[in-house]
Amino acid sequence: MPERTVPFFGGLVSRPTTLMEVCGTHTVSIFRNGIRSLLPKELTLLSGPGCPVCVTDQSEIDAALSLASLSGVTVTTFGDLLRVPGRDGSLLDARGRGADVRIVTSASQALETALREPEQQVVFLAPGFETTAPSTAAVVLEAAEKKATNFSVLSLHKLVPPVLRVLAADPELAVDGLLLPGHVSVILGEAPYSFLPERYGIACVIAGFEAEEILFGLTELLRQIHTNRPTVRSLYGKAVRPGGNVRARELMERVFLPVDAPWRGLGVIPSSGLALRKEFRPWDATQRFPLPTIPAQEETGCRCGDILTGKLTPPECPLFDNPCTPASPVGPCMVSSEGSCAAHYRYALRGTP
């Protein structure tokens, strides 16, 4: 990281400009570092659909809840998924009602739980983008190798390029530049994003997660916009190889198959999810358990799709504050504690604009 010898943003923002960070961890870092308070007025920074946990659809949580309600079933997953609501509450609520829901910090801990407790059926609820899916794949292969018959995976994995394609194709989306997800890019490399500058003229930067790295990334986006030469530029070379992590992608492709998937607040996006391939059916929770046919998510009236793309501000959503609140969120912008709606709610609640 070069030393900061001039202020970021300087005179680069000559007209109203909208940038979007597409990564929940960037969103958190931007929030924790108070970066928004440093942005010039003409610069708007939107939070995109970059939290894979928050975009887990209500119907997917409903499936997880029905698994958790089966006797003899232990549900394991990452901590952040526990708060995400389904139609009938969250996994935290299910745990409160006596379901065996356990937090793991790695897919491999889920398999270890299964190997340690052979009498339990252990299901790993697997959310996450391309960063996380290879680890699930590795664990499915390990389960197959160890013939762990009491372990299965409910894949909630989502893919980033398809959702970016949907966003970019939206004629109403007025985003000049994207801060691309750094850790998804570790797996994917730079190539999958090339359509963004080439076809849509959107500036793109892959950046790290320290405050200075984010500020540098935003500055580079402004430079591309100012010079009108959008491209995909990586400023995160210490972690991102131009071709990504080939081995991780091979594992992912060996175990999973792209399928259409529902995104909370955005609807079904073609080929944006991952299902286990046929040969791994014994470890596929949707094959092992009689899951009810989950109906498509009910019309909740949630406008997160419009909030993510900057078409609406949170209070303009009819659900904002009633019934959608941080304690009982409906859409991903409220589910994520740093999401646009949750952030807005905190200020409104505390009596300040």
Binding site: M1, P2, T5, S37, S108, A138, V186, V240
Partner: protein, 101 residues
């Protein structure tokens, strides 16, 4: 979206596991996603799996980009560009902007 933290490998446990340190914490990390690792490697870890080896950044490339931005800015603002204190708005300004996001 994905929290990943740099670790340094302190021991290779078996063909798919190592012990690695992040700050003062020492944890078991899976190395399935990397083709080879050795003690002393700096790795980026997400959800218990190493997703990449970290390498020294090419400082020259970033520095030259930085120079480019600096030169560009110089052509834009004849007066010295504002510093953080000038562009840092008060609490209410900041919160307002967050609301729009």
């Amino acid at each position: 979206m994905c929290l990943a933290i740099p670790h340094r490998i302190v021991a290779i446990t078996d063909e798919r596991t190592c012990r690695a340190r992040a700050g003062t914490a020492e944890v078991l990390v899976r190395t399935d996603l990397l083709s080879s690792v050795q003690i002393g490697d700096s790795i980026l870890v997400h959800a218990g799996f190493a997703i990449e080896k970290l390498q020294e950044e090419d400082g020259r490339e970033l520095e030259s980009l930085w120079e480019e931005i600096r030169a560009l800015e110089a052509t834009l603002s004849p007066e010295p560009v504002s510093d953080f204190t000038d562009i840092s708005p008060g609490m209410s300004d900041g919160s307002e902007r967050m609301n729009h996001a």
